[in-house]
Symmetry: C2
Subunit: 675 residues, 2 copies
């Protein structure tokens, strides 16, 4: 590719340039904010019902009657959480989200716990959504079976590339599929209900099968039954993930930000609950059967159906029945479902680097991640997220059922701590608030958040109990590792900050004199340049220094030196053990010892090369020496570059890359003043 | 481990310190030189006979009668090669070996071909010797079966550690096992011949089996038979590897170096031929059978013996028979064989880094490999060799038969080019030599080398024809890649050398003034130090520069600056796209543009940290900036280090490591003046 073409390619990929002052233009109206933030929450109707049926299947058909009751419970929790988060949105319009709420109201440890939990769940959102997208695609295109992992990995890579373009394009780009999905699913639900009312709705293709209970569940009662129902409920709660996305995104809304965000949140909750209940209702009516291992669990006339039966997802089976007389409807539903799942993964691609940037600002992650204008900052986050998600997809064979066991823990840890923080928030504000109306409103909010806390804490406990051994422990270990890592980084920055802080009465303590040393190995142009630069700086003393590793070579150097009449003395350091670093280090330390108030400036001629492999061939001794010299106080190391011809092309390439990097658009979510 | 204990550990591992002036003391007497250089050549009797029988087995027992004829042919080639190399040793006492002979007499391309071939063969020497050692060990300790690869890898790692000790210790260390091996094998041969003469020598345990010919070899005649015999001969020629080792090691001999080396070479050839022929003779007499895949190729009463039969190596089967009434003899032979094979691998560990150092001197490998006193130089070579050998052992399951197909090509390429070079050498010297006696001697030498060339070239062709598709092509590809790589490195160094060479009338062109710029991000101690050092250097102008990425942060910085009354102006660079590198680069380039005869010195405060992970947390922006600045001519970059507390421990650790590194003994082979 020629440079010019490369530029155009990058421009196409990364979008146009965006000045800081242009940020205001990119705020989202509600009609765009809903699809950007809602895809995660809405898309879960594509896999939450599957997980409910799949878990109930363990007890055979007897348990299927509980499906819509579990659905109602999930819907209830959803509405409570939405109501709670509407309070968050009003109280914290800055978009810090649960991390901010927990940090401000409970403390940094709680905040960091929330952050760890959210980071793990962002990764899982990508892995689960993409895997479910692939499974739905398989329902329409059976030939994809057996290639789930590569397809999933490919989709993650596609998203990664898209996210380097920035958010504004995303908003417009994601709106259409999200609305198509809503219309498709709600349309399907309405059409299905109408056909059912007229007695015309055909049974599901799986209605002919029996479901064989697993050993231990032959009789569906007692503690085992309760536990199974609780597990099904836990899996169904996957529908709640993504609700918190809006509370993180408040600054991206048009004014009045909080009100618009709260409205969008309510809208989102209503739509999600409607979809979930419709799907559960229709699944019941078409007598759908759905099992984790259909080949052995589903039976016909007492015989297992075997590996020949390709089980479609719940939404696909419903679409199959509802649109039995209108196949394009089936493909529309499946197509929209696939798309929304991919877009749901995108929510994580938005949130993860923003969270990383906030954590970097607070010193919990390497500081360079914070720099907003820096392409590397956000793209590092995006790439890290993609790699982790790809790892999970590969490790769990792109199977939603396995991945979902790790999911939700993080979200509910974050929900619970956030609600607890909100209660404290209201209690604190109530202490100082005197206005009666406002006090009443705060009391009401506190009640809502208290109900929210009770609910989310209960769900968290249920999730932990029912899923811990099935995989949740992996998520918890990951959270703990992240927590300790970030804690360690913060501790390190604190220590360094204390060490380097300026004491009150400090002034510039000028060293008295500068001794310059130019390191010489050969007499060539780089050396001459270093000598000239060193002399031009007019130090107190200037000396050229070479190490006598090979006496013959040094003699040649000395005679050339004399012949050229270089007006700087050449000092030859003895090196009986043929070392380079040690004699120089010793010499510099001796100068420092003789005049402790002076500084030594060591000039090192360095080749500037154009290719990475050229680095292997040059500067190796210089680099090591530099690394060692810097440990000695009172020593500066100056690199005097000598640009080889190959460096020119490299410089032009880098200039171009930086120009393009400056054009990476930072969307509104990444640009509010206080983050 | 405490530092003191660590020192002692390293001292034990690496041996005592050795000054350049002490090198003379470490020259080897013949009785030590023989075992050091002979182990490779002698050890091949442990696997060359196996390969001969194994290849002949393809045609069934009918071909076994050719075994001793092939042995005679190998012995004849061996003696011719030894005679030829005695000429090399006299003509090139500097120890440059085949590389030097080919380079001087044919040209650099031939030299580089030899070098590539030798490097590949060094790797194979390690892999083959170690694998054969493991197979012999298995003959005595059957429970090792199935763990060949980890044992082989472990042995390579052990050798790697030992080779960091240096050669002198090796000489003494390796003498005893080599002599024990010679005595054991020759003792076994004598005792076997005596028992045979008295009709008391028992048959081999495998004598009871028939050997089933492979398809295509049922009738042993025609071209197929000739080809098979040629292949067996090629494999048998593995016995010749290592002969060239002495010609590389001449400088390590006591005076008269060349004469002593030539004598040792003759001794080596005689012993190797004697051993090889004894083993082939005894194998014939005890009716030994040896097959590549004994489970299917060996039959008893028409039935394959199956996987239950554990085939012992040839030397083990002979020892079994000869010492049927004296088991300790068996264990002595096998133990000595195992040891000598490991020591043979050591020959490569000696030769490989020396060759690398010579090639680095000539600009074919990265220059830092040449530095003699540098621990990293040789240890890099040793580690590279170990990694390649381990890779081969793993890739070929530690199976000698598979590895041997890649072997020998390199050695015979090197033999052939070296003999051709020697002919040219004598022809050239004959042109100027007038002394009749010396002329006659030279003519005789030229005849010997001509016979040597004919012989080695013929063997090379046979090896290529019979082994190319069996694996030799891999070795040839490896050689070609190495050749091109080294050629490329040399071309690069030549280009750079031309670019940086000083023209005849060049003098120091002093730039007129120095503009100092101190990069500031925060006002802390590292910044204050950089400011103080910059000011102490008394530049023409000095300025502190910060990038206005975040206006609020910059305002805080400005006010602190004013409050402290720092006597250096603070320049704030606008950065509308929130970049760091570009504005600074632009600013520096502007200064250069305004006054092209001045230089700009950029001071960067740098944290000096103690752990690698701390690097991730600091200096990242500074490093990238520095990398970019160096591309601009007329710019110097000065690192002003600020030593964090954690750096102290790191410095002490490095000091200690360097002290120990200085104690690495360089043995005599690595210390002759001209290498």
């Amino acid at each position: 590719m020629t440079p010019a073409l490369g530029d155009i390619g990058k421009r196409l990929l990364l979008g146009r340039k965006l000045r800081s002052t242009q940020l205001g233009e990119t705020l989202l109206p509600k009609r765009l904010a809903l699809p950007v933030f809602a895809s995660d929450a809405l898309s879960s109707v594509a896999y939450a019902p599957d997980e409910i049926f799949l878990t109930l299947s363990l007890a055979g058909l007897a348990a299927y009657s509980f499906s819509w009751k579990i659905g109602l419970l999930v819907a209830f929790v959803m509405l409570v959480v939405v109501a709670s988060y509407r309070q968050n949105v009003h109280a914290y319009p800055s978009g810090g989200g649960d991390y901010e709420v927990a940090t401000v109201n409970i403390g940094p440890t709680a905040g960091l716990t929330v952050a760890s939990a959210l980071m793990v769940d962002y990764v899982l959102t990508v892995a689960v959504s993409i895997s479910s997208g692939v499974q739905n695609a398989k329902s329409a295109l059976p030939f994809l079976a057996g290639h789930e992992v590569p397809i999933g990995v490919g989709l993650v890579l596609l998203l990664t590339a898209m996210n380097l373009r920035g958010v504004r394009e995303s908003g417009a780009f994601f709106a259409i599929p999200t609305y198509v999905f809503m219309l498709a699913v709600i349309g399907m639900a309405l059409w299905g209900v109408i056909r059912y009312a007229f007695g015309e709705l055909p049974m599901a293709e799986s209605a002919q099968f029996e479901v064989r209970p697993e050993p231990g569940h032959e009789i569906f009662n007692g503690l085992a039954a309760v536990f199974l129902l609780a597990r099904a409920f836990s899996s169904g709660c996957a529908a709640l993930t993504g609700v918190e996305a809006i509370s993180n995104g408040v600054p991206a809304f048009r004014k009045p930000k909080s009100k618009n965000a709260a409205t969008t949140l309510l809208l989102l909750g209503t739509i999600a609950v409607t979809m979930l209940m419709s799907i559960l209702f229709l699944a019941d009516k078409i007598r759908l059967r759905f099992a984790e291992d259909p080949a052995t669990q589903l039976t016909q006339n007492g015989e297992p159906v075997g590996a020949g039966y390709a089980q479609k997802t719940v939404i696909a089976q419903i679409a199959d029945s509802v649109f039995s007389n209108f196949p394009p409807g089936f493909y529309l539903v499946i197509g929209a479902t696939m798309l929304i799942l991919v877009l749901a993964a995108n929510t994580a691609f938005n949130g993860f680097p923003v969270l990383g940037s906030i954590l970097a600002r607070d010193g919990y992650l390497p500081r360079q991640l914070h720099t907003r204008g820096d392409r590397l900052a956000y793209s590092n986050g995006i790439i890290l997220l993609a790699l982790c998600a790809i790892g999970l997809i590969i490790a769990f064979d792109a199977e939603v059922t396995k991945l979902i066991q790790l999911y939700i823990v993080g979200v509910f840890v974050s929900f619970t701590l956030s609600q607890f923080g909100m209660i404290r928030h209201w209690t604190r504000h109530l202490k100082s608030e005197t206005d009666g109306g406002k006090r009443r409103q705060m009391m009401r909010s506190r009640v809502i958040n208290t109900v929210g806390l009770t609910m989310t804490a209960t769900v968290l406990v249920i999730v932990l109990i029912t899923k811990f051994t099935h995989g949740a422990y992996i998520a918890i270990i990951a959270m703990a590792v992240l927590f300790l890592l970030m804690k360690g980084i913060r501790r390190h920055y604190d220590t360094v900050g204390k060490q380097t802080a300026v004491d009150g009465d400090e002034t510039l303590m000028l060293p008295s004199r500068v001794h310059a040393i130019v390191l010489v190995s050969k007499l060539h142009k780089p050396t001459l340049r270093a000598l000239a630069f060193a002399k031009a700086a007019r130090p107190y003393t200037v000396e050229a220094v070479t190490v006598d590793v090979d006496r013959a070579e040094s003699d040649v150097l000395q005679s050339e030196w004399d012949r050229m009449g270089i007006p700087i003395p050449l000092k030859r350091l003895a090196s009986p053990y043929r070392e380079i670093t040690r004699p120089i280090l010793q010499y510099v330390r001796d100068i420092r010892r003789q005049s402790p108030r002076d500084v030594v400036m060591v000039y090192i001629p360095e080749y500037v090369v154009g290719h990475w492999w050229e680095h292997v061939l040059h500067n190796q001794s210089a680099l090591r020496l530099k690394g060692r010299l810097l440990f000695t106080p009172g020593v500066m190391v100056t690199s005097v570059p000598y640009q080889l011809i190959s460096s020119q092309a490299a410089e032009e390439r880098q200039d171009r890359e930086e120009r393009v990097a400056g054009q990476v658009r930072r969307g509104p979510r990444k640009s509010s003043g206080d983050r």
